[in-house]
C-alpha cells in the first residue's frame, strides 16, 4: 500500500517537483507519521508490560526459571548493516543528482543487498533464540515489535526494487524529477530509525 502515495500525481497541475515539496513526498512524510504511531502503539504495549506488570524485573524469567536472553552483539552487527544501508541509499540519490545513472543503480543494488542481509540474519536469529511468541508477554512483545519491523524492511525492499526496475527498464528519474525515489528512500530511512530505537529500547536497556 505504501507504494501508492509515492508516485501519483496531481491532476492538471504543474509537475510536482516544481513545488517546494512534491505532493508524493509530502504524502510519504505524513504516512510515516502514521507509521510512527503504529510503532508507538506497539511500544506502548511493550512498556506497559515491562513497567506495569513486570515492574521492570526485565528480562523476566522463562518457564525454566532462567531470564530470557537476547543476542546483543550479533544484532548490534546487524544493526550496523541497516544503518549503513541508509547511507548507501543516500549515496544513490546523490549520484542521480550528478546525472550518474550507473551510480544510482549500484547504490540501489547495494542498499537492497544490505537490507536483505539484515532480514536473513534476523530470521536466523529467530530460529536460534530459543523462545517463541507464545512464551510470556516478553516473547509476544519481542516478536511483534521485531516482526512488524521486519515486515517494514520487506516493504521497503519492495519499494526499492520497484525504483530499481523503473531505473533499469523505464529509464525513470532525472535530477529534477525523482519523487518516487525520494519517497522510497525516505521510507527506508524511517525503517532504519525505527530499528535503532527498537534495538536500544528492547535489546540494550
Amino acid at each position: 500500500m505504501a507504494a501508492d502515495h509515492a508516485h501519483a500525481h496531481a491532476l492538471g497541475h504543474a509537475p510536482a517537483d516544481k513545488k517546494p515539496i512534491s505532493q508524493g513526498v509530502l504524502a510519504m512524510v505524513l504516512f510515516l507519521g502514521s507509521e510512527a504511531m503504529l510503532f508507538a502503539s506497539l511500544f506502548t504495549a511493550y512498556f506497559m508490560v515491562r513497567y506495569n506488570v513486570a515492574q521492570n524485573h526485565w528480562p523476566p524469567l522463562n518457564s525454566s526459571g532462567e531470564p530470557f536472553e537476547l543476542p546483543k552483539v550479533g544484532t548490534g552487527v546487524n544493526t550496523a548493516f541497516l544503518v549503513f544501508s541508509s547511507f548507501t541509499v543516500w549515496w544513490a540519490e546523490h549520484r542521480l543528482k550528478h546525472g550518474d545513472r550507473k551510480g544510482l543503480e549500484r547504490g540501489l543494488l547495494v542498499t537492497m543487498l544490505l537490507g536483505l542481509t539484515f532480514l536473513v540474519i534476523q530470521i536466523n536469529e529467530y530460529v536460534h533464540l530459543g523462545f517463541t511468541p507464545q512464551d510470556q508477554a516478553f516473547g509476544s512483545t519481542f516478536y511483534t515489535l521485531t516482526g512488524f519491523h521486519g515486515l517494514h524492511v520487506f516493504v521497503g525492499l519492495v519499494l526499492l526494487l520497484i525504483c530499481y526496475l523503473r531505473v533499469k527498464r523505464a529509464r525513470d528519474f532525472t535530477p529534477t524529477f525523482s519523487t518516487p525515489l525520494v519517497a522510497a528512500s525516505l521510507y527506508w530511512h524511517f525503517v532504519d530509525v525505527v530499528w535503532v530505537a527498537l534495538y536500544i529500547l528492547v535489546y540494550l536497556v
Binding site: A8, G12, A40, S41, P133, S140, T144, R166
Partner: protein
C-alpha cells in the same frame, strides 16, 4: 441519474478516453480474485502448519484469518485498483496523468474503480447508506429484544451480537466513511481543485471499504462478534469467527480511512486555488483537514490494538494474558487513545457542515469564523489527552483520574465556543427554514444535550455512578445520532442538488426531519433516566421496574424508522425524476455553488481566483471568488455574484409561457439572475410550490440562474423580507389585468415601490395566458383521455405523477356520438362532457398543475392522435370505469398514440348520472 456532461463547451486539454471495459468485466475479475484469495489462503495455511509441524493442523481461526485477509486483497486487486501499478512496477511506460478511469458516462461507471472524486463521493455515499440500513436493522432487533423484560427474540449471546454489530457497522461502516463521501465530492470543489491529489489512491480507499463492510455483515452469520464495538479484552479473547472477521474488517476500514486522510491533507495543502488562503477556506475544509490529521495519527492505535488481540486469540500470544505476564488493561489504553479522538473524527466534519449550512440559511456572515477554526484545532489536540475518561472505574492507576477529568471538562470549552458561534450566527439573521437548516438547528439542540451529558460523565464522582448504564447510551446517541447523523443529513440535503443535479422534495424532507427529531428525542431522552436509576447497558434482560419505559422507547424508535424510509424514497425518487436543480439553489457563496449541478468532468473550466471569505452574506459588493472564462468561451467573468438579482413577484402566472418567455429574454442579456417570490394569501401553498418547482426546473434546464420560495401571508411584508435578504436591483411585479386583479385593486405597484425602495416593473398577464404552460422539454405533457370516466380519479392520477417532476396536463373528452352531431340530444351530451372536462381542469389548476383541454367529436383513438400531434403529449392516461371491460378502447388508444406511452387508469365509481 447524474452523469457528467461538460457544462460549457469543453476546452479539451484533458485527454479523456472512454473506458474500454464494462463494469461487469471488473467484477468478474474481482470474483476470481476473491476465490483465488480464499483458496490460496487455505493452501498456504495448510502447508505452513503441516511443514512446520504445528499442533492443531486445523486451527480454524488461523484459516479464517488468512483466507479473509487474502480474499479482501484479492478483491481489491481483482476489481482493478492496482492495474496502473502493475504496469508501473513492470517498468512499462505509464501516463502519470492517466484519466482513463475518470468520470461517469453511464451508470456502470459507478460500479468500477473510478478516479473522479465526484464519482467516488457518490460511491461512498451509496455504500455507507447501505451500511446505515444494515446497522438500523440491527438496532431495531436490539429494541425488539428490549421491548419486554425477559427473553423476547434472542438469547443473551445473540443479543450481544446484535448490539455489537449495530455499533460497529454504524461507526466504522457509516459515520466515519460517510463524511469521506461528502468531503470527497465537495472538498476539492470548495478549494477550487480539479480533483484530489492522488486519484488512484482515492479509488483504492473506497474499494478497501467494501471488504470491510462485507466482513462486518458476514460476521453476524458465522458466530457474531459480541464483545461490543470496543472489543475489550479479555472478553473479546473468547470470541470466535465473528471476532476474527471484526479484527480484519477494522484493519481494512482503518487502511481506507488513513489513505483518504493522507489524500485530503495533501490536497488541501497543495491544491488550493490562487487566493484561497487558509483563512478563506470554508469551515468544512478546515474541519475535514483537522479530522484527516486525527485519522493519520490516531487510527494506527486501533490497528495496533486489534493486531494484538488477534495475535492473542489466533496465535496464543500473551499480550493480555495476566498468567503470561501480559496486561489486560493495556488494551483499553491503546484502544481509547484512538477511539476518543475517533469520536471527534466522527464529529468535526459535521461541525464544519453545520457552520456552512447555518451561515447560508441565516444569510449572515459566520459569527466568529476564526474562533470556529481554532476551536476545531483545539478539540483535536486536547482530544488526545482525555482517553482515560472511559476508564475511570477500570482499575487504572488512581493518579490518572484527576488530570483526565480536568482535561475532559476543558474540552467542553472549545465545544461551547462553537455552539455560541452558531447561535451568534443565527441571531438576527434572516432564517430560511429549508430542510438542511432544520437539520442544522435540530443538531444544535440535541448536540448541546449530548455535550452536557458528556460533562456529567467526565466528572469523576458522577461517572462512577453512571458508567455502564443507559445514561452512557443516551449520551452516545445524543452525540452520534443527534450529533453526527443530523449533520450528515444537513449536508446531504444541502448538497443534494449539487451532487445529483436534481432538487429533493422539500415537503418530504421536512417530514423526514420532524419524524426523526421527535422520534429521536422520545427514544433517547428517557434513557438518561433509566441510566440514572440503574439500568445497565449491554444486557439483554432487565428488571421489571424498567419495563414501561423500555416499551415506550422501542415504540418511539419506529418514528425514526418511518422517517428514514421516507428519506430513502425521497432521495431515490428525486435523484431519478426530481426537478432539475439550478447551479445555486441556496445562494451559497463558496466555490461549489459557482459551478453547474452536477459539476462538469473536471469541475472548473477555468481556474477560479479567490478574492475574499466564503461567508460574506449581506455585505454589499463582497465576493468570494471570480472565475474568468477562457478565450474559447468568450472570455469575461463567470462569477454569479456580479449578476444582479431581479425579484419576480407573481402567483398564477408562474410557469406560464408568457412569464417564462419574459425571464428568458431578460436572462439573455446575461446580467440578471432571478428570485421568484410567490405570496399566497388563500393558504393553498401546495399548488404554488408545484408551479414554482416546475418553472424553476424549466429555467434550470436552460442554464438560467433562478430560485424562489412560496410565502404565506401578507405580500408586502414578504416582499420587504425578500428585498432585505437578496438585495435585488429590480422588482418584476406580475398581475392580472386591471379589474381581474385583487393586487391592482389594492394599488400594489405603488405600495411595493414604496416598501422596497427599488425600481418596480409591472407586467400584465391575462388569465388565459397565465394558464398556458411553458413549452419545454423539461416539462412532461400528460394527456388525459376519458369520456364518462373523466373525474376526480383521473385528476388524482395526474397529481401523483406531478409529485415526481414538472408536468402539464391536456384534458381530452372524446364523445364518440352515434348519431348526427347537430341535434339537441348531441348538444346536451356535449355540454355534459365539457362540464366534466372543465371540472377536472379546474381541479388540476387548483393543485398547481397547468391544464387545458377540449371536447372532441370522435373516438378515444382520435383523441390520442390529437394529443400527440397538436399538443405534443409525452404520455397518455386513458381512464375507464372499473368493471366495464373497455380493453378494446385501451388497445385502440395504445395503437393510435404510438410511440407515446399509454397508461390505463381504472376509475372506481361511475360519476353522477345526469
Amino acid at each position: 441519474m447524474a452523469t457528467y456532461q461538460p457544462t460549457h463547451a469543453h476546452t479539451g486539454h484533458h485527454h479523456v478516453h472512454g473506458p474500454t471495459r464494462s463494469a461487469w468485466d471488473y467484477w468478474k475479475r474481482a470474483i476470481v480474485g476473491v476465490i483465488t484469495g480464499v483458496v490460496l489462503g487455505f493452501i498456504i495455511t495448510f502447508l505452513a502448519r503441516w511443514l512446520f509441524g504445528f499442533d492443531g493442523l486445523w486451527a480454524s481461526q488461523v484459516y479464517w484469518s488468512v483466507c479473509a485477509t487474502l480474499a479482501g486483497l484479492g478483491f481489491i486487486i481483482g476489481i482493478g485498483c492496482f492495474d496502473w501499478w502493475w504496469d508501473y512496477l513492470r517498468g512499462r511506460k505509464v501516463d502519470y496523468e492517466d484519466h482513463s478511469l475518470h468520470g461517469a458516462r453511464s451508470i456502470g461507471d459507478y460500479f468500477r474503480p473510478n478516479t473522479d472524486h465526484k464519482v467516488i463521493g457518490i460511491q461512498y455515499l451509496v455504500l455507507t447508506f447501505g451500511m446505515f440500513i444494515v446497522g438500523g436493522i440491527l438496532a431495531e432487533l436490539v429494541r425488539l429484544e428490549l421491548a419486554f423484560p425477559g427473553q423476547t427474540i434472542a438469547d443473551g449471546e445473540t443479543y450481544n451480537g446484535f448490539f455489537s454489530g449495530h455499533a460497529t457497522v454504524m461507526i466504522f461502516g457509516f459515520v466515519i466513511p460517510v463524511f469521506g463521501g461528502l468531503a470527497n465530492y465537495i472538498l476539492p470543489i470548495m478549494i477550487g481543485a480539479k480533483d484530489m491529489a492522488f486519484p488512484r489512491l482515492n479509488a483504492l480507499s473506497f474499494w478497501l471499504l467494501v471488504p470491510a463492510g462485507v466482513m462486518l455483515g458476514l460476521a453476524q452469520f458465522v458466530g457474531a462478534f459480541s464483545a461490543g464495538w470496543t472489543a475489550y479484552t479479555p472478553l473479546a479473547l473468547q470470541g470466535t469467527t465473528g471476532q476474527t472477521l471484526f479484527e480484519i474488517a477494522v484493519q481494512f476500514a482503518g487502511a481506507s480511512s488513513i489513505a483518504t486522510a493522507l489524500n485530503f491533507l495533501v490536497t488541501v495543502m497543495t491544491m488550493r486555488a490562487p487566493g484561497m488562503t487558509v483563512w478563506r477556506m470554508p469551515l468544512f475544509v478546515w474541519a475535514q483537514s483537522v479530522t484527516a490529521g486525527l485519522v493519520v495519527f490516531g487510527t494506527p492505535f486501533i490497528a495496533g490494538s486489534q493486531f494484538m488481540t488477534w495475535f492473542d486469540r489466533v496465535m496464543g500470544t500473551n499480550f493480555f494474558n495476566v498468567g503470561g505476564g501480559g496486561d489486560v488493561l493495556m488494551y483499553q489504553h491503546v484502544f481509547w487513545f484512538y477511539s476518543h479522538p475517533a469520536v471527534y473524527i466522527m464529529m468535526l466534519p459535521g461541525f464544519g457542515i453545520i457552520s456552512d449550512v447555518i451561515s447560508t440559511f441565516a444569510r449572515k456572515p459566520l459569527f466568529g469564523y476564526r474562533a470556529l477554526a481554532f476551536s476545531t484545532v483545539a478539540i483535536a489536540v486536547l482530544g488526545f489527552g482525555v482517553w482515560a475518561h472511559h476508564m475511570f472505574v477500570s482499575g487504572m492507576p488512581g493518579w490518572l483520574r484527576f488530570p483526565m477529568m480536568i482535561m475532559t471538562i476543558v474540552i467542553a470549552v472549545p465545544t461551547g465556543v462553537k455552539v455560541f458561534s452558531w447561535l451568534g450566527t443565527m441571531w438576527g439573521g434572516k432564517i430560511h427554514l429549508k430542510t438542511p437548516m432544520l437539520w442544522a438547528m435540530g443538531f444544535v439542540f440535541t448536540f448541546v444535550i449530548g455535550g452536557l451529558s458528556g460533562v456529567f460523565l467526565g466528572t469523576l464522582p458522577a461517572d462512577i455512578q453512571l458508567t455502564d448504564t443507559y445514561y452512557v447510551v443516551a449520551h452516545i446517541h445524543y452525540v452520534f445520532f443527534g450529533g453526527s447523523v443530523f449533520t450528515i443529513f444537513a449536508g446531504l440535503y444541502y448538497w443534494f442538488p449539487k451532487m445529483t443535479g436534481r432538487m429533493y422534495n422539500e415537503r418530504l424532507g421536512q417530514i423526514h426531519f420532524w419524524l426523526t427529531f421527535v422520534g429521536f428525542n422520545a427514544t433517547f431522552f428517557p434513557m438518561h433516566w433509566l441510566g440514572a436509576v440503574g439500568m445497565p447497558r449491554r444486557v439483554a434482560d432487565y428488571d421489571e421496574r424498567f419495563a414501561d419505559l423500555n416499551l415506550f422507547i422501542s415504540i418511539a424508535s419506529l418514528g425514526m424508522v418511518i422517517g428514514t424510509a421516507i428519506f430513502f424514497y425521497n432521495a431515490i425518487n428525486s435523484w431519478i425524476r426530481g426537478p432539475k436543480a439550478p447551479w445555486n439553489p441556496w445562494r451559497g457563496r463558496s466555490l461549489e455553488w459557482l459551478v453547474s449541478s452536477p459539476p462538469s468532468l473536471f469541475n472548473f473550466d477555468a481556474v477560479p481566483q479567490v478574492v475574499g471569505g466564503p461567508y460574506q452574506y449581506g455585505l454589499p459588493g463582497a465576493r468570494h471568488a471570480v472565475i474568468f472564462a477562457g478565450e474559447d468561451l468568450g472570455g469575461g467573468e463567470l462569477t454569479e455574484v456580479d449578476r444582479r438579482t431581479m425579484l419576480v413577484v407573481a402567483n398564477e402566472s408562474v410557469g406560464s409561457q408568457a412569464l417564462t418567455d419574459r425571464v428568458r429574454q431578460l436572462a439573455a442579456s446575461g446580467v440578471w439572475r432571478f428570485t421568484f417570490l410567490m405570496p399566497v394569501e388563500d393558504g393553498n401553498n401546495r399548488a404554488a410550490e408545484r408551479r414554482l418547482q416546475s418553472a424553476l426546473s424549466v429555467l434550470a434546464a436552460e442554464g438560467i440562474d433562478a430560485n424562489g420560495s412560496v410565502v404565506s401571508g401578507d405580500p408586502l411584508s414578504a416582499i420587504r423580507t425578500a428585498v432585505a435578504d437578496d438585495d435585488p436591483q429590480q422588482i418584476l411585479l406580475v398581475t392580472q389585468p386591471r379589474g381581474a386583479s385583487p393586487w391592482l385593486d389594492r394599488d400594489m405597484v405603488d405600495r411595493v415601490r414604496k416598501a422596497s425602495n427599488r425600481a418596480v416593473t409591472h407586467m400584465v398577464i391575462s388569465g388565459d395566458d397565465a394558464r398556458t404552460p411553458t413549452r419545454s422539454s423539461a416539462v412532461q405533457t400528460i394527456a388525459v383521455v376519458a369520456n364518462d370516466a373523466m373525474g376526480e380519479g383521473l385528476a388524482t392520477a395526474v397529481q401523483e405523477r406531478a409529485d415526481g417532476g414538472p408536468v402539464s396536463a391536456v384534458v381530452l373528452c372524446p364523445l364518440s356520438l352515434d348519431g348526427p352531431g347537430w341535434t339537441d340530444d348531441a348538444e346536451s351530451v356535449r355540454d355534459a362532457a365539457a362540464e366534466r372536462a372543465r371540472a377536472v381542469i379546474a381541479s388540476l389548476q387548483e393543485a398547481g398543475i397547468p391544464a387545458r383541454g377540449e371536447v372532441i367529436d370522435g373516438d378515444p383513438a382520435e383523441a390520442a392522435r390529437i394529443a400527440r400531434d397538436s399538443y405534443g403529449a409525452t404520455s397518455v392516461l386513458v381512464g375507464t370505469i372499473a368493471g366495464r371491460g373497455d380493453a378494446d378502447i385501451v388497445e385502440a388508444v395504445t395503437a393510435a398514440a404510438q410511440p407515446v406511452p399509454v397508461e390505463h387508469v381504472f376509475v372506481e365509481a361511475a360519476p353522477p348520472a345526469l
